[in-house]
């Protein structure tokens, strides 16, 4: 495999790929895509949220599932990190707690692909300390 060391090498890789891949058609309308937000505050990072986010990115790409995966700040569920908010198109956001790789796989297979809730949903009645 050719060594990749410069931006010119990266450009070459991109050009090789461009003709092969189907470019995302609705990237200008994120509300039409499944959105996955991984809590990446201090407690999230300490609990392994980086690995959770990497897993979502790799699996969704592998399975060609149209979704946008991003990191977000503290959602307030520090005791249940890593936490992940999933917003399916035209559905209310759902936050899952204790999302390790196994739970991430379950969320992909059952909630994202089939729309069925799985265990570990954080309650919507949660209030902040100031409420």
């Amino acid at each position: 495999m050719t060594t990749i060391k410069t931006l010119a090498d990266l450009r070459r890789i991109k050009e090789e790929l461009q003709s092969k891949i189907k470019l995302r058609e609705n990237s200008n309308h994120p509300e039409q895509l499944t959105q996955i937000k991984v809590g990446m505050a201090t407690c999230g990072i300490a609990s392994g949220a980086k690995e959770t986010m990497k897993y979502f990115l790799e699996e969704l790409e592998q399975q060609a599932i149209d979704a946008v995966v991003t990191q977000t700040g503290c959602m307030g569920f520090c005791y249940a990190e890593p936490t992940v908010e999933v917003i399916l198109p035209n559905r209310e956001p759902v936050v899952f707690g204790f999302v390790d790789k196994a739970k991430a796989q379950e969320i992909i297979d059952v909630y994202i692909k089939k729309g069925k809730l799985v265990d570990g949903v954080m309650p919507i009645t949660f209030k902040t300390i100031d409420d």
């Binding site: 060594t3 990749i4 060391k5 410069t6 931006l7 090498d9 990266l10 450009r11 890789i13 991109k14 790929l17 461009q18 891949i21 470019l23 995302r24 990237s27 990446m40 505050a41 201090t42 407690c43 990072i45 300490a46 980086k50 986010m53 990497k54 990115l57 790799e58 969704l60 790409e61 592998q62 995966v69 991003t70 990191q71 977000t72 700040g73 503290c74 959602m75 307030g76 520090c78 902040t128 300390i129 100031d130």
Partner: protein, 182 residues
């Protein structure tokens, strides 16, 4: 936090929350003076003098989802444990600079870790923020900027597996060539 790159990932969130559109991370290894310095500079909203004084207090936070703010206090603790220190410069409306210095040879200095993963997931998450990474050693300097990556990729998504692997390899190879301490 087990690695310095975890700290960087954490502090980056502060910059994002502060509304930064440009964030620069400079890692400076100085074997002669035995320093390993991380500097994060952003153009976010900055902090007032009053807030700056409390920034490393673990029981102070600007968020309302919890009553503790551990990121800066943990970084300060890890830097001091490794024979170093933390300094923060900030002004309301003028951005913030966080500088953490570790003693390079100190056994308690955490490893840098997989900084390429931190950069990549931050670029994926915050495409509208320009994020620049610079790593300097006595053997050379490596720099990479998200705006250059975006320009090269065009319509090809950053999340493409081959692109991701190429970016990882680009960063790793360049850090290896300047003999970066990872």
């Amino acid at each position: 936090m087990k690695t310095i790159s975890d700290h960087i990932l954490d502090i980056l969130q502060n910059s994002v929350t502060a509304g930064a559109t440009f964030i620069e991370i400079i890692v400076d290894e100085n074997k002669k003076n035995d320093f390993y310095t991380i500097k994060l500079t952003d153009n976010g909203c900055g902090m007032s003098e009053e807030i700056l004084k409390k920034a490393t207090d673990p029981f102070f936070t600007s968020r309302n989802t919890r009553k503790v703010g551990l990121g800066l206090s943990l970084l300060k603790q890890n830097a001091e444990k490794a024979g170093g220190f933390l300094s923060i410069e900030s002004k309301s409306g003028a951005g913030t600079r966080v500088k953490a210095t570790f003693q390079l040879t100190n056994i308690d200095r955490p490893p840098m870790g997989n900084i390429w993963e931190v950069l990549y997931i931050t670029w994926v998450s915050y495409s509208s923020i320009e994020l620049k990474y610079v790593h300097e050693t006595e053997k050379g300097r490596f720099e990479i900027n998200s705006s250059e990556i975006v320009e090269i990729l065009g319509d090809v998504p950053l999340t493409n597996k081959e692109i991701k692997e190429a970016i990882y390899e680009l960063i790793k190879n360049n850090l290896k060539s300047i003999q970066a301490t990872i």
